[in-house]
């Protein structure tokens, strides 16, 4: 018995020495097979158990189990040590090239700056309780002019060069039995103002509080004019609406769009559908209203410190009457402005034509 125990102790001592010096997974596995495998040394020693007495067997078994546990623990410990060495080696290796560009599977596209401006403007007015509406771009001249107090022989029609639609291309109207009463010329709307009329007609009675972003068309094409551009129209009709409300609303809008320190200035002007009418300037978004920057005259506002951006006024009583509203019981204000100009001022874009060229190198900047 003492002999077997001695052999087990010797086995343990040998395993201790060889496992500690093992230098790899492979060597460890070999040692495990050598000591603990089916044909290993431990099994060989235990085969001698047959000669022992029943009293001796548990004692030898106990030693054998202790030796097996010890060897297994040493093997596990050695494996952990080797893993750590491997991990340390990996962590100590050279870093990857973190400067390679990110993978360009599908880079994000870009919102057109005009849409972006329109969305931002609409959001400001939505916060002020305005409903965003739209109207037709191919319009009857009654909505575009007459209803807005621009009568057929009014010189104000010259203020806007109008595109007219060739009547014969509008389809055979007589072919059908019903024809609505609308007559007059058909044109591309020259401003978003006809939506004022349509909105008031749709509402039927005050209050009306709408804005309308959209495309408008004028027959003018050069460096500073595009035959198609975008406007936003605003209209607020209710009881007791005053010019002071108009001033406050546009001042709030200007601060919301151009920044909290933006100032506004109203100057008398003329649009046939408002009275009193005004042109509205905002303090220059580029020079902050100083008129100069770094000692040089500001090119954006031409040194004046102000930018003309809006037309506005109190809705003309004739316009209210044209939609069946009673000007003695309600008043309103209206305003309109060009979106391109807003976007140009905001982004520092100096050429109107860029908006419609749609060069991807331009679009990708927004």
């Amino acid at each position: 018995m003492a002999d077997l125990i001695g052999q087990l102790e010797a086995l343990a001592a040998s395993a201790r020495a060889s496992i500690v010096s093992a230098d790899g997974e492979r060597a460890l596995e070999d040692l495990r097979v050598r000591y603990l495998g089916k044909k290993g040394e431990l099994s060989a020693v235990l085969r001698g158990m047959g000669q022992l007495t029943p009293e001796e067997r548990p004692r030898v078994g106990e030693v054998a189990n202790r030796v097996r546990d010890e060897v297994e623990a040493m093997l596990a410990q050695a494996r952990a040590r080797l893993e750590q060495v491997k991990l340390d080696a990996e962590l100590a290796g050279p870093p990857i090239d973190v400067t390679l560009p990110g993978r360009q599977l599908l880079p994000r596209g870009h919102r057109h700056p005009i849409t972006r401006a329109m969305e931002d403007i609409a959001a400001i007015f939505a916060g002020l309780g305005y409903e965003v509406t739209s109207g037709p771009e191919i319009e009857l001249d009654w909505y575009n002019f007459d209803a807005l107090n621009v009568l057929p022989d009014h010189p104000a029609r010259d203020m806007q060069d109008t595109f007219y639609v060739a009547e014969e291309t509008l389809g055979a109207r007589e072919a059908r039995g019903e024809r609505d009463a609308a007559t007059g010329q058909v044109l591309l709307r020259t401003h978003t103002s006809p939506v004022q009329i349509r909105s008031m007609q749709r509402a039927g009675k005050p209050p009306v509080r709408i804005i309308c972003p959209g495309r408008v068309y004028r027959s003018d094409y050069d460096q500073t004019h595009s035959p198609m551009f975008h406007q936003i129209e605003g209209l607020c009709v209710d009881t007791g609406i005053t010019f002071a409300d108009l001033k406050g609303t546009l001042a709030a809008f200007a601060r919301g769009f151009f920044g909290p320190s933006t100032r506004t200035r109203f100057r008398p002007s003329y649009f046939p559908f408002v009275e009193p009418g005004a042109e509205v300037d905002v303090s220059c978004a580029i020079c902050g209203g100083a008129g100069s920057r770094e000692g040089r005259r500001c090119g954006t506002c031409k040194g004046s410190g102000w930018l003309e951006v809006l037309g506005a006024g109190m809705v003309h009583p004739t316009v209210l009457r044209n939609v069946g509203f009673d000007p003695s019981s309600c008043t309103g204000f209206a305003f309109g402005f060009g979106v391109e100009r807003m976007a140009m001022l905001r982004h520092g874009i100096d050429d109107l034509r860029l908006f419609f060229e749609n060069d991807l190198r331009f679009l990708a900047q927004f």
């Binding site: 560009p101 993978r103 360009q104 599908l106 880079p107 596209g109 870009h110 057109h112 609409a122 939505a126 309780g129 305005y130 409903e131 109207g135 037709p136 191919i138 009857l140 010189p155 104000a156 203020m159 595109f163 639609v165 060739a166 009547e167 291309t169 509008l170 389809g171 109207r173 007589e174 072919a175 019903e178 024809r179 591309l188 495309r215 068309y217 035959p227 198609m228 209710d238 009881t239 609406i241 005053t242 010019f243 002071a244 409300d245 001033k247 406050g248 609303t249 200035r265 109203f266 002007s269 046939p272 009275e275 009193p276 009583p317 008043t331 908006f355 419609f356 749609n358 991807l360 679009l363």
Partner: protein
């Protein structure tokens, strides 16, 4: 309107130009520019020749000593001979840049130093005379700017007069406004006439046949006129206002136009047949040659100033050649009339003929100015052309002017403006502007409108006068009371914002292109389409309203390709336009919003670590799916499309909603369409209608329970004919109730799959809602699917070994 400050000062004591500009802009007469006349002669001063001797080294030159107002005389070398010592001449001092661009510098001429240059009229840009120095009046003080000596110095304001203010289209008009604003006296011209000879009515008769069109026609006759050039002061005043000096008679009528704003016309009375003026409409077929030399076919609505025989002027627009003032004219008939605006405007537009006269008449001339302007003109003709004014005015006045009356309720200004307005302020402002309080009571007053304010007809017009005169700064800023319930965002706007976000996430950039295109572009996209056309397009390229967005985006992609950008994903959301088919007219056209996208080039940009495969049909389809998913359009499918003209017939899909509603199409651009836009093959596009999508969308997602029980996964590979449609195979799989989901993860053709066949590999997940499935159940379901795929005639699959 160009306003000369010098001229203006005849009528009112106005402040300096900058202050005046601010003042006028502040009341709605926007000054767009301030121009300094004579500024180009800055540095040129009057100088007296003190001494002159021959140049030591040059035959033709002299060396002069010049008093230019400084402490010491200057030495100047000069080539001219036409002066004497003591003469005052223009000296361009060192540093001056002459109108011709020549810069004066200190120079040595043949060894003699010269400190400036003595100038001819031509060198100063004021005359063609280059024969010698310009000799100035001897009393001009040396050192005085030449522009002042010559009376050239002036400041001109460029005033943008809005169409409602024709009364401001003259110097007196502006002066009246300034006088009212500053409370200063207005000095109107007071014509003094020395009338001689037989009464004017002996020389001419006036008859108005169309009193609705011509309310008044007044004429004077001036005889013994000598046509000649105008004096310098008159020519300079006209030129300051941008009007060319022609002859004394014509210049006088233009002067009165710019002074009082009232258009006049001068006829050669000896060429007025029958010495009779008839104001009548044109006769059918009548023709007339206007002053610009054009023979015009007249419309029966055109108003003419005619003599006994024929028309001699298009009334209020332009004179005729027959009765034009010429060098031999001695008897002048001056016309001063009032024509109704609408008729003038129609004639002016009909003949595409605009003049200073028509511009004013169509805005509304001042009926009160008819006689004063006539008298002023006669006075000046007598003075400047040596004429004698015949006694009396031949005045046809069938519709005497009565001033308009407008009532103002005292409380109304404050109600509209939102700021208190004192009664005294109202009265002071309106009174200053020429409104006369005809009657007043506790509540308000009725004001008589001055004859020149043709724009005033309503109470609001008076409020505007108060408001603009007071200045808008006097009105506080306030926000309207929130009497309106904040509206819910319109669903279509929410939807389109989501669509934009989704498309941008899928790599598309938004474009904004013109709504009008060339007819050829429409034809290339939709052959045979009949687009709505413009009557007056700006160019043939922008002549018709587009019926599809595809062409515009193809143009955009072609532009980018020319810039070297071969890969592009672009989209646009905009309207397309078609004639209405229901005969209705309000709105006049059928406008529908669409979402369009175009894909070209590579699927991913050239970059390391990604494949450079070209885009294909399924990229376009994924984009459509992204759009639909973004707005919660759940059930949709794509079927073979044979209707879309711009799609390649073999690569064309129609996008259908669950109920079969067609919402658009996608696929490869037809080779013919691509070629028309100079694009290669392999460009893909989709176009969707917003309307039906908005009807079908669900912006708020509905919750479905998340499965808690495990699913069992089985792969399945079947070989089918390559004509079998994936949708049929997947539909067959889904007939099995235990199938929760099926993913087609591979489509393969080629060896070892026999020709004409393809292998479809699918991953199927099985799940029951109420229990954990056993393997046996899943296997059984799998077997049923296989059997189904084998027997379904649309699939006829073989299980792949």
């Amino acid at each position: 309107m160009r306003i000369s400050c010098k001229w203006l000062s005849d009528y009112v004591d106005a402040p300096a130009a900058e202050e005046l500009a601010r003042l006028l802009t502040g009341v709605g007469l926007e000054v767009e520019a301030v121009e300094r006349l004579g500024a180009e002669l800055t540095g040129v001063v009057a100088a007296r020749v003190v001494a002159s001797e021959k140049h030591p080294n040059a035959e033709k030159l002299s060396v002069t000593r010049i008093d230019a107002g400084g402490p010491d005389p200057l030495q100047i070398v000069c080539g001219a001979k036409n002066y004497q010592v003591g003469d005052v001449v223009p000296l361009a001092t060192i540093g001056t840049v002459l109108p011709g661009g020549m810069r004066i510098e200190r120079a040595k001429l043949r060894g003699v130093e010269s400190f400036g240059m003595l100038c001819s009229a031509k060198e100063l840009g004021i005359d063609a005379d280059a024969s010698g120095l310009l000799i100035l009046p001897r009393d001009a003080k040396p050192g005085t700017p030449v522009a002042d000596v010559l009376g050239l110095a002036d400041v001109v304001l460029e005033v943008n007069v809005t169409p409602n203010r024709p009364d401001a289209l003259s110097h007196v008009g502006i002066a009246r406004e300034v006088a009212a604003l500053l409370g200063k006296p207005l000095r109107l011209p007071q014509p003094k006439l020395d009338e001689r000879g037989a009464p004017a009515s002996d020389a001419v008769r006036v008859r108005i046949e169309a009193p609705d069109r011509c309310a008044r026609y007044a004429a004077r006759v001036v005889e013994g006129v000598r046509i000649g050039p105008s004096p310098g002061w008159l020519a300079r005043r006209l030129e300051a206002c941008g009007v060319r000096s022609i002859s004394n008679v014509v210049d006088v009528t233009n002067f009165v136009l710019l002074e009082l704003g009232h258009p006049l016309h001068a006829f050669d009375l000896d060429r007025v047949a029958g010495h009779e003026i008839v104001v009548r409409t044109a006769r059918p077929g009548e023709r007339m040659t206007t002053l610009d030399g054009k023979e015009r076919a007249l419309d029966p609505e055109d108003l003419l100033i005619a003599d006994r025989d024929r028309g001699s002027a298009l009334a209020g627009v332009m004179g005729g050649g027959d009765s034009e003032i010429s060098a031999g004219t001695t008897r002048v008939l001056i016309e001063s009339a009032w024509f109704s605006p609408a008729g003038i405007r129609r004639t002016s537009r009909r003949h595409q003929l605009r003049s200073e006269a028509s511009f004013r008449f169509e805005r509304g001339a001042d009926p009160g100015a008819v006689i004063p302007a006539l008298n002023r003109c006669a006075e000046l003709l007598a003075e400047l052309a040596g004429g004698a004014v015949r006694p009396g005015i031949v005045d046809a006045n069938p519709r005497p002017f009565t001033p308009g009356k407008v009532r103002l309720a005292w409380t109304r200004p404050a109600e509209v403006l939102g700021a208190p307005v004192e009664l005294a302020t109202t009265r002071r402002i309106l009174g200053g502007l020429g409104f006369v309080e005809a009657s007043a009571d506790e509540q308000g007053a009725t004001f008589e409108v001055p004859s020149w304010r043709v724009d005033i007809a309503h109470e609001e017009d008076l409020i505007e006068e108060i408001c603009r005169t007071q200045g808008y700064d006097a009105i506080p800023e306030r926000l309207p009371a929130a009497s309106v319930e904040p509206p819910a965002p319109a669903p279509d706007r929410v939807a389109l914002t989501r669509v934009r976000d989704a498309l941008e996430a899928a790599g598309f950039s938004e474009t904004v292109t013109f709504s009008f295109v060339s007819p050829a572009d429409v034809e290339a996209v939709e052959p045979g389409a009949r687009p709505i056309a413009l009557a007056n397009p700006i160019s043939a390229d922008l002549a018709v309203m587009r019926t599809s967005l595809v062409g515009s985006l193809l143009r955009s992609v072609a532009h980018d390709r020319r810039q070297g950008l071969d890969s592009a994903r672009v989209y646009e959301i905009a309207s397309v336009y078609r004639p209405r088919t229901d005969g209705a007219r309000n709105p006049p056209a059928d406008e529908r919003r669409r979402i369009c996208g175009v894909l070209a080039g590579r699927r991913s940009p050239v970059s390391w670590g990604v494949s450079g495969d070209p885009v294909d049909f399924y990229d376009a389809k994924a984009s459509v799916e992204a759009v639909l998913a973004a707005i919660g359009v759940g059930d949709s499918r794509v079927e073979i499309d044979r209707a879309t003209t711009w799609l390649h017939p073999r690569s064309a899909g129609a996008v259908l909603l669950a109920d079969g509603t067609r919402v658009g199409a996608l696929g490869e651009i037809h080779p013919r369409t691509a070629a028309a836009f100079s694009l290669p093959r392999g460009v893909f596009a989709f176009e969707l209608e917003v309307g039906p999508l908005v009807s079908a969308m669900e912006l708020v997602a509905k919750y479905r329970p998340v499965p808690r029980l495990p699913a069992l996964l089985r792969d399945l590979a079947v070989v089918v004919s390559d004509r079998v449609r994936a949708a049929d195979v997947l539909a067959a799989v889904r007939t099995e109730p235990l199938v929760e989901d099926v993913t087609l993860f591979d489509v393969y053709t080629g060896p070892p799959i026999p020709a004409g066949k393809k292998n479809l590999a699918m991953a199927i997940s099985y799940r029951a809602a109420d229990r954990t499935l056993t393997d046996a159940e899943a296997d059984a379901a799998h077997a049923r699917i296989l059997e189904r795929l084998r027997t379904d005639p649309a699939v006829a699959a073989e299980l792949r070994a």
